[in-house]
Symmetry: C2
Subunit: 271 residues, 2 copies
């Protein structure tokens, strides 16, 4: 039965776990298979052709495990690869850029939206494109924030250094007087406390910070219900299977801390 | 003629250019083919099996281009892969760990040597092993410095943030009262000014900072002369061919700035 099949979720590393956390809260009956491409992390500094190649190998691995839909839990991949994945694979593909753009357009009053993301996502122009399809009166100010992924991957998420790095990236958004800041990379919610604090201090209390992980969770729910693909409520489920391409032990520790409770064995796969 | 063949040099990204720069100063007649695995950078956060797999694919590519010797311009690879490369490939293999360890043993008076390196290099224990083979009275204090590679790759090499990040990594070495600090990653010379400044300020003026790139250059010269593999003096040469696995345009800019003058086309290869 297609409804009983798991959702396949993939990311370049551990950042996509923020999407898994949101999916578990919003869709507690779904089972999830998560693949983190920890051998090739980060994607955000890489060119489109390389990102597409890596994304295809991750996606094919999950399709071979009979997932009912693919959730791209990585903004860099969502920015450059979804069309190609839809052409090559016989399964619905959902990304994180469009839900984040939609939440931003709904939240802005001033019509100026800031996006923090990797160099790859900013260079792709994916957010301005997604926003332009939803609103002709919303301007996007993109800011590449390349050090946030390594900070999050290392767990260095509080103190003076993360604060100063975040300040450097928020400054141009403050100058542009945005009233929404989109966390355009699924790693960034790991730095949420510092980002919130600096956004409030440097731009103002009125600013909305959009977590594209949560926005994506809501869109996945809508999608499953509209296609009659959701598992029935109370049918059990809520299992998460974790796959990585490198360092399963370290990933298990981080994932346990991050998702709460023991996450079981992490399987290493070779792509 | 074997003497006329180029040296093959490879690294996970652009950090190995510090070794190329040293080789050009020390061996101006040699031609060099450099391969930067920019699609899979960084290696320092990855496990040994993955690093060995990637290193083998880089090394095989250079061997197919008829290099006379392979220089591993990456501490992470030098820490875990040289034996495997020597077994699999029919070409001399030189790493960066042993020359750095030797320079450190020669420089220390107190017998306490600090090593800044990636998490992978520190976890491998390669520096303590290399130092133990040269001196039984020298203690190695290792410090993983995971944010220095992304800082160097991004070119964020001066100002308060690099200074504070460097301070955090130097502090345990200052507590241990080392009198030598080895730059145990070929990216770190890009941050040399900040590192020198903080080492002087936090430990003292007497401390020697060992650049393993330069130490490696000297060892490669000795090796070539001892095997009669060096090109004759004044025979021309000094050419550098650059190969990368991703983002050739960006690499060309950085390499030009770094090596001085135009470096010509950067070729993209698929490993």
């Amino acid at each position: 039965m297609k409804q009983d099949a798991p959702l396949g979720v993939f990311d370049s590393g551990l950042g996509g776990l923020t999407v898994v956390r949101a999916l578990r809260e919003i869709l507690p009956d779904e089972n999830i298979v998560y693949l983190g491409d920890t051998a090739r992390v980060p994607y955000g500094t890489k060119g489109p052709a390389t990102v597409i190649k890596y994304a295809l190998s991750c996606a094919r691995h999950l399709v071979a495990r009979d997932v009912k839909a693919l959730v791209i839990a990585c903004n860099t991949v969502s920015a450059v690869a979804p069309e190609r994945l839809r052409i090559e694979l016989d399964v619905p593909v959902l990304g994180v850029v469009e839900p984040g753009a939609q939440a931003a357009v709904e939240a802005t009053r001033s019509g100026r939206v800031g996006v923090l993301a990797t160099a790859g996502t900013i260079a792709s122009g994916a957010y301005p494109r997604a926003v332009a399809q939803l609103s002709t009166r919303t301007e996007v100010v993109g800011q590449a924030a390349p050090l946030l992924v390594p900070l999050a991957e290392e767990g260095w998420v509080e103190g003076d250094v993360p604060r100063q790095i975040v300040r450097r990236y928020i400054e141009p958004l403050a100058m542009a007087e945005v009233d929404v800041v989109v966390l355009g990379c699924t790693h960034y919610p790991l730095l949420r406390a510092v980002i919130d604090q600096q956004v409030r201090a440097m731009i103002g209390e009125h600013v909305t910070v959009v977590d594209s992980a949560r926005a994506t969770g809501s869109q996945v729910r809508e999608f499953l219900h509209s296609r009659n693909l959701a598992r029935p409520r109370g049918a059990g489920g809520g299992l998460v299977g974790l796959l990585v391409t490198d360092m399963p032990h370290r990933f298990r520790e981080v994932a346990s801390r991050f998702l709460g409770g023991d996450v079981g064995e992490v399987e290493q796969v070779d792509l």
